[in-house]
Symmetry: C2
Subunit: 584 residues, 2 copies
């Protein structure tokens, strides 16, 4: 008896019991919608409990990641401690990071809660990598990460505790390192393709993590925090983040307004670098750095112009031995309105100038700096994954070395690191796919693939029997699919309530067992057909279904999504469901 | 090419490459052995990274737990945040616990890293349980827990970061609560039976967690930290922890030596309770409490006798209105040597006395207090799981209430909580099953079920081909089993090295593909036959194997474990392996 009640209740205890109002479905921010639909529950700013529906979605995504990494890249699964000792982070000079959660144990040892694990994995692999024979190797883990964001926002998009997949590669030379970097990036693309979402790869800045080569994965999204720039030239198609994208104006030297300047010092502090660019544009540090062949002291990046010139004059007593390098953004010309030069005394002969470079953040409509032909198109997006070719950035300070094949000397291991923001991907997909009826998951990560709804239990014994018949059909014909079916949304509520609930939770297909339509049942398509395959194809491929089969498509209004219904004899329901799921 | 090298290497990168010495296998503590065999890696005192072999073992165990809880108890999986706010723990009066890891975020909010989640789950379920209709419900999670033990020891047996499965039940009345408690306990027993390990259930004290009813699961183990007492009377068989077990002496009142006394005060502090018991025995607070019907102030439990009598005299100005209650352990008699009575002035008339009770920790050979017939047998053990019938211990302070069915009033939810120390179970099984050849896992949680070893790759092309043939046989006949086979221990090392490696890692079966024995292969049984089934049975059940089949058992020496070998035609290898695995 108790068992019976459990079957009826336990899952639906942590699911909505009644449909949300149209107003909430339409205008509630996605983070709140996910909470109202019982996927996650916020406990503190940026901190969440994961509820059963959210767990199912997350576990499915993690399953896809693991499967791909193991099959394609033979990756080894580990799970590093969440408590990382201060000493490791001091060695790589990252302990000062104010976003680390820090704590002391009862013996006053200091730790941080892991934000990323480059330090820990490098230290760990010292026990396992000693010879070139031990490489290449790829190690990964999936687990909670912590970042004490000052302004956590948008729910799981920018949380303080979140789930991340982080992988680390180890190679003995650059060509192996690059091949592993490319292989893992290939797998990342396959992972996102499995979700049938339009993820874009962009060349990116490697930021705080380090390394020379870096690729970000972006989900295009109106209102996204990031901007990516794509070249519309089909033979180029270069995509980069706005931190990395190089662009040129449609016509050079056309800017005649006020010019801004940003000062910097060369690495030896004997050259004052003056970056001139149009007012109203944003200087791009990566491009600025590139324009002087990286000969710039990046630690002074955030200093004011006054601080830079003071430092320059203080460190160089004799101005005779200094230089001034003027870097001119290609948008400006000599007739532009330049600011005053800051130094009182200087030697004209020591002036140098670089012209025709681009040092400002690219904008929509400018010329692609990669092919010099196409036009850049700017798109708002969310970053969902990031890969880094780290070279020896961590193996050097932490001394991860191996015995060489050729000359029996020790060399530093070449590393790469690769991250997928698991909960972030889920939150972005929710954001991307939601519509006025609620969420709309791809089958690959939907908490349930199918729901079966009917009239309230106990109201019509014939319908109850038919409902049981459909459930049994799935259990007998495809037990794995059957375990992905939601059969107990709210069996005491009306059919309409349950259809709305199923739609709002975002279950891709709803099977409706009604008393009038029997022996036919309706299958409502809620999921989105990303591939654009037309259902007619199924009828052609499976002619035995055609006779007894009917489908309808309504496009009720411009804001109402595509409505698709399949009416099939109950004995075909499993086959049709399986066909439909392939494309959702 | 790279792929090929990965297949060869990546797994074995984080596995031992050479067998450990006999000395290490024999005498290294199990915690160090698990580390040397690359299951876990200690990073700090009580803190560990989990390596691929340890991950596989852990994941298999978690899979069994999830499967059983979902199938038997329809439990819902959640994952609560690891950061629990101070305010919750203050409400239940548990924040002072010195074993909590505590931290502050950048806004000075305080958190602990979760040690258990009664507070968080109770708070969470307030959003979901409002009516009797929402219950019964069972919610569980599996994840990292934190306890800042002052003296972490024995590796994963007493770690500061560890993996735990914690489940929580919610019921509207006592009978449902008790039924859920019993149902989950039944599932726990099934989980341990699946591992084929001899786990014992013992009635236990509920300690800091609280509640009236509590059952612990113990793995009997020489050198274990706990002691359980089992009644040898077949119609009783009562088992309890030494904190809970009630025992009587074989003959009462036979103790004539020095008597110890422990003082306490009744809850209203007007009665001085004097517990008298034999010197050399340990007073058992649970029994002492029970002997006075719980009318004792437990908060004074750790006060000295002097402190108790001082407090008694200070709080009671007129001794006329006080009482003295003498509780006599049944082992002592009036001729025993009693200590002096502590009070100067007292009234003889106000003395009471309780005789014939047992208030000391039970010992081996005493009479079972449950049946009053059997003899208690004491066993050293490790506690691996604990269940609590909590009643309203947490729902009361945190106000988890529901609307009653009968009279539309609100009532407190009856809770239960249930924990399995996942990493602790794994460490205890390693401790229990290890022998002079290394670890010896039950199939259910072995990192790999089978290993296939042969001569070094490239040495004999015929053997290499046969090796490939055996691997393919498994892949074709049973892909799931094939994914549980270790095929790349160290393919450049000798066959003997790999057999030793496989034995020490504790893989239950080793298939040896040699050049002499072909077309037969040898299957070495490393796993332990807990059920004692004789292999002959298989031959009877599967006569088609009998003709071409041969088996040997050697028991080399008293300390050397049972050696069992099966020599079979290669075409039968999958069948025989599957039969053998059933019993390991």
């Amino acid at each position: 008896m108790l068992k019976q009640r459990w079957f009826m209740r336990s899952l639906s205890t942590i699911l909505p019991r009644a449909p949300l109002s149209k107003q909430i479905l339409k205008s509630e921010p996605t983070a709140e919608l996910l909470e109202k639909l019982c996927f996650f529950k916020k406990t503190q700013s940026g901190i969440f409990h994961m509820l059963p529906a959210g767990m199912k979605t997350t576990d499915k995504f993690i399953g896809i990641i693991q499967d791909k990494l193991q099959t394609n890249n033979d990756a080894s699964l580990v799970s590093l401690s969440s408590l990382s000792p201060k000493s490791l982070w001091q060695t790589t000079d990252r302990w000062a990071n104010s976003e680390l959660f820090k704590l002391k144990d009862s013996k006053k040892n200091e730790y941080c809660l892991v934000a990323t694990c480059e330090e820990d994995i490098t230290e760990l692999m010292k026990s396992f990598i000693t010879s070139y024979k031990d490489m290449p190797a790829l190690v990964y883990q999936v687990g909670k990460k912590y970042r004490d964001e000052l302004r956590p926002r948008s729910g799981l998009l920018r949380a303080r505790e979140f789930i991340m997949m982080d992988a680390y590669s180890f190679a003995s030379d650059e060509s192996d390192a690059t091949r592993m970097f490319e292989d893992v990036n290939k797998t990342f693309l396959e992972i996102f393709q499995e979700l049938k979402i339009p993820v874009v790869r962009a060349y990116a800045d490697s930021g705080d993590i380090g390394g020379d080569q870096s690729i970000e994965y972006h989900l295009p999204l109106i209102g996204g925090e990031s901007t990516i720039l794509s070249c519309n030239n089909d033979s180029c198609k270069h995509v980069a983040t706005d931190e990395k994208a190089l662009s040129y104006p449609v016509e050079e030297g056309q800017f005649t307004g006020d010019v801004c300047v940003k000062y910097g010092l060369s690495e030896d502090h004997t050259t004052l670098v003056c970056y001139y660019y149009p007012k109203g544009r944003q200087i791009n540090w990566n491009l600025a750095k590139l324009s002087v062949d990286d000969d710039i002291d990046s630690s002074l990046r955030d200093c004011s112009n006054q601080e830079i010139t003071d430092l320059f004059q203080k460190e160089n007593e004799d101005m005779m031995f200094t230089k001034v390098l003027r870097v001119m953004d290609s948008r400006i010309n000599s007739r532009s309105n330049f600011p005053d030069f800051p130094l009182k005394s200087y030697l004209k002969n020591n002036f140098g100038q670089i012209d025709g470079v681009s040092i400002v953040t690219a904008t929509d409509g400018e010329i692609c700096g990669q092919c010099n032909e196409g036009t850049l198109v700017s798109t708002k997006s969310i970053e969902v994954a990031h890969t880094f070719n780290l070279d020896t950035k961590y193996s050097k300070p932490l001394s991860l070395k191996f015995m060489d094949r050729e000359n029996n000397s020790t060399r530093l291991v070449k590393m790469g690191c690769y991250g997928i923001g698991v909960t972030r991907v889920i939150a972005s997909i929710a954001e991307l796919t939601r519509d006025i009826h609620g969420l709309r998951w791809p089958v690959a990560i939907a908490p349930w693939s199918v729901s079966i709804v009917s009239t309230p239990q106990g109201k019509n014994s014939e319908t109850d029997k038919n409902y049981g018949k459909i459930v049994s059909l799935f259990k007998n014909k495809d037990p794995k699919l059957a375990s992905n079916i939601m059969t107990n949304l709210n069996r005491t509520a009306s059919m309409g309530t349950n259809i709305s609930l199923s739609h709002s939770i975002g279950i891709p297909l709803t099977i409706i067992v009604g008393n009038k339509s029997w022996p036919r049942v309706e299958i409502e398509v809620r999921g989105r057909r990303w591939s654009g395959t037309d259902i007619c194809k199924w009828e052609e491929e499976y002619p035995h279904l055609k006779e007894e089969y009917q489908w309808e498509v309504n496009n009720a209004s411009p804001i109402d999504p595509y409505h698709e219904k399949h009416i099939v004899l109950h004995k075909h329901v499993v086959d049709v469901v399986k066909l439909l799921l392939q494309d959702l």
